[in-house]
Symmetry: C2
Subunit: 209 residues, 2 copies
């Protein structure tokens, strides 16, 4: 998953071309997160990225092509944060540090915007099958990062043998998604905190049982 292909129509991109393309994708991503995919027009994106129509259509065949690039961009952005926070997790302190990172990001955004991937999924799942499939892969990659952290705790004996790591990773990801959506709607971090803390406490209780 990468938001920067090396070529357009078989021709490699120059450094300037890469920068222009990246500017278009970043602008489109910001606008789509704020307004929703359908409310974001090609005109809006051109203005925000300061590119002409012909420049935009040099890099993207149509809006759908741009939507796929936005999914890649947001997937990279979200997974980067979670990879950094999760790759060192080997005990409950590590898991709580991951939780604190997510709450910190939400606090910095004043609970505005929700999860970039969750918002795209809710917006596109029923109207764009290709986008839905891509977002399923994005969530799958995120879940793998969570599963990896839990597997390390499992291997170290911190989590008991009978914990189903796949289901636990999925439940944690669901807690994050549901918590972010409720926090976005309520404009407070309590929902996200409650959801993740509840899931982590569940693992602690299993460890103690």
């Amino acid at each position: 998953m990468t938001s920067t292909p090396a070529s357009v129509s078989g021709r490699p991109l120059t450094a300037k071309g890469l920068a222009t393309r990246a500017r278009i994708v970043a602008s489109a991503s910001d606008l789509m997160l704020k307004l929703g995919v359908d409310r974001t027009t090609i005109d809006d994106i051109q203005r925000a990225a300061t590119v002409t129509t012909s420049q935009l259509y040099h890099y993207f065949v149509d809006k759908n092509d741009l939507i796929m690039a936005v999914i890649d961009y947001q997937t990279d952005a979200v997974l980067d944060v979670h990879r950094t926070a999760l790759e060192s997790v080997d005990d409950f302190d590590g898991l709580v540090a991951w939780r604190d990172t997510i709450v910190e990001v939400l606090t910095r955004q004043h609970c505005v915007g929700g999860c970039p991937l969750g918002s795209l999924a809710s917006d596109l799942a029923e109207v764009n099958p290709r986008a839905r499939a891509a977002l399923e892969r994005s969530f799958g990659a995120w879940e793998s990062l969570l599963r990896q952290g839990l597997a390390t705790m499992h291997a170290r004996g911190i989590l008991p043998p009978d914990v189903d790591l796949d289901r636990a990773a999925l439940a944690l990801l669901a807690a994050v998604q549901g918590g972010l959506l409720l926090s976005q709607t309520r404009r407070d971090t309590v929902a996200l905190e409650s959801a993740i803390d509840f899931a982590i406490d569940s693992l602690r209780l299993r460890a103690a049982a």
Copy 2:
């Protein structure tokens, strides 16, 4: 919260008027759930509800007015299901029966559509402050239903005194929302099942601790 006001511009609605208004709101709700709010045009709604432009604008000032009616309609629909499933909850079997109801609804929909309230919240929270506030109230009412069931279990000694009922209700609602979004994206019920089961198991472990 009700999607059927008794009057338009001070004049009471006739039975026929009420039926026409209800048909418009039901059609708008279906379309907005399938396409998203912005992709649903007034033309689409007119066609689906078989009403003229002047009929539609007799009941609704503008699209925003109709959006608020859709939020009321979906809130009533969702809360009806959960009220029925939750009002009799007084032990873990009752909570599991509630869980089975949600999974059954999702199975019947082949995991298509997600939560009507979650989808509206994700779609509207950043672009329509009045809708965001209404959806915050809807989630609050849903959370209260969950809290009530947990409070009954608490009063009966099935849940231990130290369980924070507010946070537990919020965590369960987040599990439902996150589970539904992931299940909508993955097109399977495993995410929803894992999320709610994990949260219910967490309460069981507290009860057993």
